[in-house]
């Protein structure tokens, strides 16, 4: 493992560890208001200051990191499973099924990703409880993010369908369903793993974009997207540099994923 990959692993472990330990590191919680210290600069009591309604920014960053880092993989898992089912099955069945599945995939892929997300998000009710908004946002990412992976899996499953071992298994009388689950799916695993890991940083960035545009996780629940909305109120970059901490964390995490994924991308290709 190269030095950069080791550093990426350490960075990810540190950020994930800090977010999991948010209850101990910031016992005040993300929603508690310190009304005597609104919009305060960093101090001993509030390491990253407070926001405009007096909530501790450090606590919000930790809890927001936890939400983004735990739910992005969950969304990636959902999208990978959907891709495996749609792309894998279509590729395995081939013919009209594969053409039909790829036509639907093309419809989704012809729309810019962020555009598709805000359109679909707008179709859901916007004034929902914070917890529901978290689930809706990440479920949407999972439900819409399967297309690229499905295309890769359809091609891989298509080549497996015509491979010698599948032909032999079919000739030996193994029924189609059993053949798919026992022989085709296990061979799709490396591509599935790669697609899963590739989706995580994509979903983290997408949630951040949705959050900044006001279509992501609802207040008072923090996420990287909602925390980055604070940057909208800045007049200059050097004015309150501590407000950039969520952005720096996000860039560090996504860069770490990219460094770790360079090998996975080769597998996916």
């Amino acid at each position: 493992m190269s030095l950069w990959r080791k550093l990426a692993c350490v960075a990810l472990a540190l950020v994930l560890g800090a977010s999991v330990a948010a209850n101990w590191l910031a016992p005040g919680g993300y929603a508690r208001q310190y009304r005597e210290a609104t919009d305060a600069p960093p101090s001993h009591a509030h390491w990253l200051g407070t926001d405009e309604i007096g909530r501790d920014r450090f606590a919000r960053v930790l809890y927001g990191t936890r939400i983004s880092l735990l739910l992005a993989p969950a969304a990636a898992l959902l999208s990978t499973l959907m891709a495996a089912l749609i792309g894998g099955l279509a590729g395995y069945l081939g013919g009209a099924w594969a053409r039909m599945a790829m036509a639907v995939t093309n419809v989704f892929l012809s729309l810019p990703w962020l555009f598709l997300l805000i359109t679909a998000r707008a179709l859901m009710p916007l004034n929902v409880s914070p917890l529901v908004s978290v689930l809706v946002t990440f479920m949407l990412l999972g439900l819409l993010g399967w297309t690229t992976a499905a295309r890769v899996l359809c091609t891989t499953a298509g080549s497996l369908r015509t491979s010698d071992f599948v032909r032999q298994a079919r000739a030996a009388g193994i029924p189609g369903q059993r053949l798919f689950w026992l022989h085709v799916m296990p061979n799709l695993k490396p591509v599935l793993y790669a697609q899963f890991w590739i989706s995580i940083p994509v979903f983290i960035l997408s949630e951040a974009n949705l959050g900044i545009l006001g279509l992501g996780v609802a207040e008072p629940m923090p996420s990287w997207g909602s925390l980055l909305r604070e940057l909208e109120g800045l007049v200059s970059v050097g004015e309150e540099p501590w407000k950039f901490v969520p952005l720096i964390l996000l860039v560090v995490v996504v860069t770490s994923f990219q460094l770790l994924l360079s090998k996975q991308e080769e597998v996916a290709a």
Partner: protein, 290 residues
């Protein structure tokens, strides 16, 4: 020539099919969206039972998704795209007023992105210095890790034009592929031989490298249009530019579904046309080369 015609016909057919399926999908989603059958007019205390019933009857035909979609298509064919619920204006007027700004923004953003991409990718392929290569990879990688909306916010803070923000969002995606393509093309034996024989860099580029990589670069160019259209939403929304991207964002926030469906179809059309155009031109270039 015949294969080119077939290719164009195939793309036109695929475009129509995608628009049809995409429109039907959008109409279905609108029909199934929560709050579809709610009309604020019904809250008016001045309306009597008959008026309320008349309002419900008027909406009754929208209950069937297919009928809803076909009546929309019929009206759209006559140039009536409906009325925006949030802005109370005809969708056609809204799109017509805002389209020029978005097209200008996209053209400038894409132009800048490709200028940056080709400059950096060509210099990386020419120089073949690992330090320079690492530096450009780090720069593009960093931009790849910053959300598009943050780049839009930073462009407001630094008072730089929105087209530059679009360029910086698109550039990391196009740079990566273009750099790999050009480096691979420059390492081909006939290019090395041409260099060894003392052929000028400009001649090598225009006669031997570009004809080889042009079809793939054109394909990336087609994809970059889709990336730029996606980037236009945060850039226009956060930089206060009254274009289609800002309209889409406003429609999403107000759950203005008729407007959103029309923008979706327009965006699908633009991205499909860009991809099809790139593919057809790429095919022509390949044909000329052969």
């Amino acid at each position: 020539m015949r294969s080119l015609r077939w290719r164009i016909a195939g793309h036109a057919l695929a475009l129509l099919a995608t628009l049809f399926v995409g429109g039907l999908l959008s109409a279905t989603l609108v029909r199934l969206a929560p709050g579809f059958d709610v009309d604020e007019q019904e809250l008016d205390p001045h309306l009597n039972t008959q008026s309320m019933q008349a309002l419900r009857d008027a909406r009754h035909q929208d209950h069937n998704v297919l009928r809803f979609y076909f009546s929309y298509m019929k009206r759209a064919a006559h140039g009536d795209l409906g009325t925006s619920l949030a802005l109370g204006q005809p969708v056609r007027t809204l799109l017509r007023d805002r389209l020029p700004l978005t097209l200008r923004l996209l053209a400038m953003g894409l132009g800048l992105a490709w200028l940056l991409t080709l400059t950096l990718a060509l210099s990386a392929a020419w120089l073949r210095l690992s330090v320079y290569d690492t530096l450009t990879t780090v720069v593009s990688g960093t931009f790849l890790c910053i959300p598009a909306a943050v780049l839009a916010l930073l462009s407001v803070l630094w008072n730089v034009p929105g087209s530059l923000a679009i360029a910086l969002i698109v550039f990391p995606h196009t740079y990566r592929y273009s750099r790999n393509l050009l480096v691979k093309a420059y390492s081909r034996p006939h290019i090395i031989t041409a260099r060894a024989k003392g052929l000028g860099e400009a001649r090598i580029l225009f006669w031997h490298v570009l004809p080889v990589v042009a079809p793939q670069l054109l394909a990336v160019a087609g994809v970059s249009v889709s990336l730029a259209v996606g980037a236009a939403i945060p850039v226009e929304a956060l930089c206060g530019l009254a274009g289609i991207g800002q309209l889409a964002w406003q429609a999403a926030l107000a759950r203005d579904l008729p407007l959103l469906v029309n923008i979706t179809i327009l965006v699908t059309l633009v991205t499909l046309l860009a991809n099809s155009g790139a593919d057809v031109i790429g095919h022509m270039v390949r044909g000329q080369e052969a």
